[in-house]
């Protein structure tokens, strides 16, 4: 019923239908439809507390939505984070959730977990298959570290990395699960101007690899330059959806977000 625009060549990767998330009396996300096309960069904006992170949690199965369904490439996603990751949707967290006492490389290797198979016996016996898989895991993880620009920091503990590097490491870890869609929750929070510029380069490069990306952001200039399409959430409801120009010039967005925005955008953790 919501198949609004005729799909041209670009297939829909993610389709979320009438997602509602209620916490007791609070409706954090209210009846939101949302879809992402192949190789698209979609922005998700909205003032603090609008329900953006909650919406991500609904998409990735961290929360079971009160109502609504999520499908990825035509298949329903069960509300279990592990199965969502396996299906091909990976995410990062607003408040970084790396494995602090593991090295950068090991963090990324954990991301490979769901694409590798070695079990108990193979791990103990260590036959050629085990060694090949382990070698591939290391190679793939190193390649991803290089890709996000952390190649030199492979052996550093995640908790010892500077803030911006931790955000990039989280992206590398998420990409290690071979996703088709990457959900980034405020990837530039706490970064300086130069790091932010690098981040947008990185997101473009991710798209070049054939992934679709959804980005939650407060930094308007960043998001308008980056995204093909932007959705604005306010108080849990989808207010506007469209290209940067459309959203930028929408009265309600300016009122609801940009009007009160700058102060919050600066403070965004």
């Amino acid at each position: 019923m919501t198949a609004t625009e005729p799909v041209t060549e670009t297939a829909t990767v993610l389709q979320a239908q009438s997602i509602t998330m209620r916490f007791g009396g609070l409706v954090a996300v209210n009846n939101v439809d949302f879809d992402v096309n192949d190789r698209e960069i979609v922005g998700l904006i909205g003032p603090n507390g609008a329900g953006k992170t909650t919406f991500f949690n609904c998409l990735t199965g961290m929360y079971r939505p009160t109502r609504g369904t999520v499908s990825y490439r035509g298949r329903r996603l069960p509300p279990q984070p592990r199965l969502v990751a396996r299906a091909g949707v990976a995410r990062t967290f607003q408040n970084i959730r790396l494995f602090g006492n593991m090295t950068a490389l090991e963090n990324v290797m954990v991301g490979r977990y769901c694409r590798t198979k070695s079990g108990v016996l193979t791990s103990i016996i260590r036959g050629p298959r085990y060694r090949r898989e382990e070698r591939e895991t290391v190679e793939r993880s190193r390649e991803l570290l290089d890709f996000v620009g952390l190649g030199r920091n492979a052996d550093h503990l995640a908790r010892n990395l500077p803030y911006g590097d931790q955000r990039r490491l989280e992206i590398a870890r998420a990409m290690a699960t071979d996703p088709g869609l990457l959900l980034l929750d405020e990837p530039t929070a706490g970064m300086n101007a130069q790091e932010t510029a690098q981040a947008s380069q990185l997101i473009f490069a991710i798209r070049e690899r054939g992934l679709a990306v959804v980005v939650i952001e407060h930094d308007m200039r960043f998001i308008f330059r980056l995204c093909d399409r932007i959705t604005c959430l306010v108080r849990g409801e989808k207010l506007v959806e469209g290209t940067a120009d459309v959203v930028q010039s929408d009265e309600r967005v300016i009122e609801a977000y940009l009007g009160t925005g700058p102060a919050k955008a600066e403070g965004g953790r």
């Binding site: 790396l98 090295t103 090991e106 769901c114 108990v120 908790r159």
Partner: protein
């Protein structure tokens, strides 16, 4: 301590050093004199010019202290000694502390056993006063940072060093086991602790630790060779071999528990029940006249059945509880331990099937027979007689080698990384596609499997199986061994198992205070070194989440060698 130190430093000033030196010399002189008149206590310290037992420990400590002191000041300090022993001052202080402990423990024991300090001969007083002087004087020495030795030795030499260290451990263990006097036994342990801590002050321990980490395989192999040689040092005596096999059973089980606790981070308070399951399977399927099942498959089959039964129990307990948060698991496993014991107590035919003979248990389990080899028979190898316990000892050594291999390889694999990720942030691990539930279940059931395996051997070793061998206290001891030794390391748990099993055997007269002592020990450890004696680097980091310096320091040492080839 540091307040006293600085006060002493101010009061004594440069007089501290000569006082300490004089004290060390006095200590050494005292060991050549008689300490008491009664030759029947503390290994006969009555003979002049011939130091015995505790006097030898005292003499060694005194001589080491002299060397350390000479490295701090005096004519030799600048060139040969000072540069060789940069941590001399710290080591001298340690020597001071442990000299007081080692000497005065014996003096007190003489006073206790012969009723009064009057029974101490002049030699004892000379060494006692010397030890005190060494202690006070060494406190006033200037601080020296613990040095980091960067000897670049060829790896062959490093291997020899490791082998020598392990042989020293073996000799010390064999020597300690042969102490029949409990006071002397404790005194020797104190002496050992002193020497080990001194080598730490000098940076030697740190160097050895690094070398063993670099040459992990060689170290492991050497450790097994040394352990293999141990029975040959016992001249066919069963007393010590019996203790040694018990230590091995305990250690095997504790390593299994360490997979659950140390690697997967799950708290299991009923682990002994899995050992019990294996033991009961072993007993019931044995040829004992007291079992009611008359099927006696070969032992290898029994081992597999015992391990699988335990693993099944693990699955049954684990699958509902591991889905919810950690605290429930502790409660459920605690309850399972009790249920197991009570069930074994009651399966005596009056209610339900007669399987276990109830509280009487299953006695008269015959010795193992694998192939044509009878474990009950003594064997003579190279002219050295190896008794029944030595046979079990070798079998257990094989089992423990397997368990250690499984532990180490699981730890350093995809599965091990999954466990670490779960310990770090379970929700994030789940979001990255890690199947946290089945990984936890795997650890839980895998640990149970290994315990069940050990249990089947334990049944034959113990000759009888009764429910009260598998009570909660034993689970608590296993857990203490893991926590005390070091969560997530093999060496630590081995050390913990040796301490927790050996001490009670040697300190039987202490048994009333045993629990109190362990309780205190655990409290002290939790306060000062929560990661255990031989800590896993990662665990150390986890337990010091705030400590940025430590994080920098350990950075290069966390990843397993094979994971991060440069």
């Amino acid at each position: 301590m540091s307040a006293i130190d600085s006060w002493l430093r101010r009061t004594l000033g440069r007089a501290g050093w000569p006082i300490a030196l004089a004290g060390a010399v006095l200590m050494a002189v005292g060991t050549f004199l008689s300490w008491t008149y009664d030759p029947n206590i503390v290994e006969n310290l009555t003979i002049y010019l011939y130091p015995a037992g505790p006097q030898v420990y005292t003499l060694i400590l005194a001589l080491l202290a002299v060397v350390m002191l000479l490295a701090v000041r005096g004519p030799l300090a600048t060139r040969p000694l000072g540069s060789l022993l940069p941590g001399g001052a710290g080591a001298a202080r340690t020597a001071g502390v442990f000299s007081v402990l080692v000497v005065w423990l014996i003096l007190v024991s003489i006073a206790v056993q012969l009723h009064g300090f009057v029974n101490i001969d002049p030699g004892g007083w000379v060494s006692g006063v010397g030890a005190l002087a060494l202690f006070v004087g060494s406190r006033a020495l200037p601080d020296s940072p613990r040095p980091v030795l960067d000897w670049r030795l060829p790896s062959a030499v490093q291997i020899i060093l490791i082998a020598v260290a392990l042989l020293l451990v073996l000799t010390a263990a064999a020597y300690a086991l042969n102490r029949s006097d409990a006071w002397v036994f404790i005194d020797f342990l104190l002496f050992l602790a002193g020497v080990v801590l001194m080598s730490r002050n000098l940076g030697i321990l740190g160097y050895l630790a690094d070398a063993t980490a670099r040459l992990r395989r060689v170290t492991l192999l050497a450790a097994f060779i040394v352990a293999f040689l141990f029975p040959f040092t016992q001249n066919g005596s069963d007393a010590n071999m019996s203790i040694a096999t018990q230590v091995l059973i305990f250690a095997t089980t504790a390593i299994g528990l360490n997979i659950v606790v140390g690697l997967a981070g799950l708290l299991d308070l009923g682990y002994i029940a899995f050992l019990g399951s294996g033991a009961y399977v072993g007993a019931i399927l044995s040829a004992s006249a007291f079992t009611h099942i008359h099927w006696h498959p070969p032992f290898l089959v029994v081992v597999l059945i015992g391990a699988c039964v335990a693993a099944c129990f693990g699955l049954i307990i684990g699958s509902p509880t591991l889905r919810v948060s950690g605290d429930y698991l502790a409660i459920v496993t605690l309850a399972f331990g009790e249920i197991f014991r009570l069930t074994m107590n009651n399966l005596d035919g009056s209610n339900g099937p007669d399987l276990t003979n109830g509280p009487n248990g299953i006695p008269a389990i015959p010795d193992l027979r694998i192939g044509g080899f009878d474990f009950g028979e003594p064997h003579t190898v190279l002219g050295i007689e190896l008794g029944r316990f030595a046979n079990y000892y070798f079998l257990l050594l094989v089992v423990i080698a397997f368990v250690v291999l499984a532990f180490a390889r699981m730890n350093d694999s995809r599965i091990g990384r999954g466990w670490v990720a779960i310990r770090e942030d379970e929700r994030a691990a789940e979001a990255m596609g890690v199947n946290t539930f089945s990984l936890k279940l795997l650890a839980f059931a895998g640990g149970a499997f290994l315990a069940g395996l050990a249990g089947t051997i334990k049944a034959h070793h113990d000759v009888s199986v009764t429910p009260d061998q598998y009570q909660f206290l034993e689970s608590a001891f296993l857990l203490s061994a893991v926590v005390l030794g070091g969560m997530g390391t093999v060496g630590g748990v081995l050390l913990g198992a040796v301490i927790l099993k050996l001490l009670p055997e040697k300190l039987r007269f202490f048994s009333d205070y045993r629990l109190l002592l362990f309780g205190l020990l655990l409290v002290v450890m939790m306060r000062f070194r929560p990661e255990g004696m031989l800590a896993s680097r990662r665990r150390q980091l986890e337990l010091h989440e705030e400590d940025e310096e430590l994080a920098e320091e350990l950075e290069g040492q966390v990843a397993d060698v094979e994971v991060a080839p440069r």
